[in-house]
Amino acid sequence: MVPDAAFASYYGRPVIKASPWEKDIPAYLFLGGLAAGSSLLGAGADLTGRAGLRRSGRLGAAVAVGVGSAALVHDLGRPARFLNMLRVAKPTSPMSVGTWILTAYAPAAGLAAGAELRNLLPHRLGRVAGVLGALERPAGILAALLAPALASYTAVLLADTATPSWHEAHRHMPFVFVGSAAAAAGGLGVLATPADQAGPARRMAIGGVALELAAGHRMERAMGLAAEPLGAGVAGRLLRTSKVLLTAGSLGSALVARRSRIAAVACGVSLLAGSLCTRLAIFEAGQASALDPKYTVVPQRQRLESLLLADEHACSATVQGEPKEPSGS
């Protein structure tokens, strides 16, 4: 299936550099997705009168985006300079775009979650509670409208690099990531919400898993040689685990989560873990693809050779077509 991968390299050393990112980044990919999906569930529950689902969605979103943002700052080489991200707005930098999405989203999600906790405020802060009460719906809806961008931009963040297994996935990874976000948030909803209110969470989880698995399948088919690291080593084990967990969580949500609390918790955990495994797998596959020069050199060499072939074809066609002007070279 994969063509012969004989290739030259410089002592087998990598041609490109793997990202210097630690586990903070795949953790953020997961938490950002979880937050995004949870905001959507929270806003939907708010508008349809499901108080339990609204609460779990809003609180889950705020905690996830808070921890996720902290992970992002922690991963910086100079964490104290994290505000430098706000010096510029650059559409050519997915990280800059993401920073601004996050900067708009996080306060809205925080406000909506704060409103859930306003009854815990001491009595003398009644005015604060009043303001929170007035803002909770608009804030929750704003967060939900920004959420899909938060869930999908992270795929562009990875794909806009020279890392073969990220870049070659650029057409399909956004769909894998929003599917994964929906699966995770649906899982949290199933886990943390009474069964009679968790219908939308179950449906979101089932739909998310279906989208993630389908888009993931298409992604692997489209990546050529760069798909190989997704099936090998740590990344391969993580991806296989993710598929099992997501399928189990999705089936469980469809069949048993409504009837048994224990089953609902198990489904939720399985969906959350499955989503996390997907993010870790894609992250690790990219790192592995950068460290092996094969994934950089072989596709580029094949591209050059097919161009050369096409050129020769065009040349010989021209020469045959115009016999009066034999060309020197």
């Binding site: 030259a8 390299s9 410089y10 050393r13 990598p14 041609v15 490109i16 550099k17 990202s19 210097p20 959507l40 569930l41 939907g44 529950a45 508008l47 910086l76 080489g77 100079r78 300079r81 010096r87 510029v88 650059k90 050519t92 930098s93 997915p94 959420a147 899909p148 961008a149 869930a151 999908s152 795929a155 562009v156 794909a159 806009d160 690099t161 020279a162 890392t163 990220w166 650029h170 399909h172 956004p174 769909f175 929003v178 929906a182 649906g186 069964a195 219908g199 939308p200 449906r203 979101m204 989208l211 409504r258 990219g286 020069p293 950089t296 050199v297 580029q300 060499r301 591209r303 050059l304």
Partner: protein, 284 residues
């Protein structure tokens, strides 16, 4: 070849000086590493933490990185010019090449930098502003050549935690001097100058070598029509680029960015619609 873009002008400089760059003619490199030393001395680049024998000929530097801005590669091989009919193995030959940041016309590191730390100078080069970079590391996987990296070392040491690479000696250029590596090169393997003129010089040298029977000579990074819009630092090589650890057909990742944003937008709408459907359908 397509029309050459002036990156300084494209970045908004008004009446910039001619674009500056390198032409590294590896056919006359003697592997002395004076460039590596001069670069470290002038730019105050610290030891890279790899004081070890790498087992790769005379190359114990390894690769370009945050604390290695010039890297001399050593390749030992049988000469491909061996006629073959004799049945005897060809002559042994050295390939030596001093690698450096390519200062791409379309620079992925600069495109993806979220703080504006990486910028395009009036000379068309790409430089990190040390006091702005917050060490997000995005430029590292973005570079199609594996040049830029985040410096590791003791906390508090110079520029640890931030992205570092060749500046084409921005400070020296401003004062009208040549970069330290080019100045130190004893064979003029590293030539500094205006990119337009270096392209002509490279083409001339290639023709001379071809006339002399060295059919394996080829240029690298000189074509403005390539995937990075042509490099500011071009090379004359005597074998395939990958033999020297260079990518054979590098492409700036941001070339596909419009497609990526479109697909991400479509995915985002899918999520929004799916979430709405989750509340509309079903009974509970």
């Amino acid at each position: 070849m397509s029309e050459a873009v002036d990156p300084a002008r494209a970045a908004g400089w008004i009446d910039p000086p001619p674009r500056k760059g390198f032409f590294t003619d590896t056919s006359i490199c003697i592997g002395c590493k004076a460039c590596e030393v001069a670069c470290k001395e002038w730019n105050g680049v610290p030891e890279d933490g790899l004081l070890s024998m790498l087992g790769s000929s005379y190359d114990n530097t390894g690769a370009l990185g945050a604390s290695t801005w010039r890297h001399v590669a050593f390749v030992e091989q049988r000469s491909p010019t061996d006629p073959g009919e004799t049945g005897r193995p060809g002559d042994f030959r050295w390939l030596m090449s001093s690698d450096v940041c390519k200062h791409c016309t379309y620079a992925a590191c600069l495109d993806v930098c979220p703080t504006g730390s990486l910028f395009r100078t009036e000379f068309g080069t790409v430089v990190v502003q040390d006091d702005v970079c917050n060490g997000c590391g995005y430029c590292v996987p973005a570079c199609p050549f594996g040049v830029i990296d985040r410096r590791i070392g003791e906390q508090g040491a110079r520029n640890v935690g931030i992205a570092q690479k060749c500046t084409l000696c921005y400070d020296r250029l401003g004062a009208g001097s040549a970069p330290a590596c080019a100045q130190a090169c004893p064979t003029q393997s590293i030539q500094f100058g205006d990119v337009d003129e270096l392209r002509e010089r490279a083409a001339g040298r290639l023709a001379a070598l071809h006339d002399a029977g060295m059919a394996e000579a080829r240029l690298y990074g000189e074509d403005p029509g390539d995937g990075i819009g042509g490099a500011g630092a071009m090379f004359l090589l005597l074998d395939d680029p990958e033999v020297y650890g260079l990518p054979p057909d590098p492409v700036v990742s941001t070339r596909d960015l419009p497609v990526m944003w479109r697909r991400a937008g479509l995915a985002a709408l899918t999520l929004l619609a799916g979430a709405a459907a989750a509340f509309v359908g079903g009974s509970s």
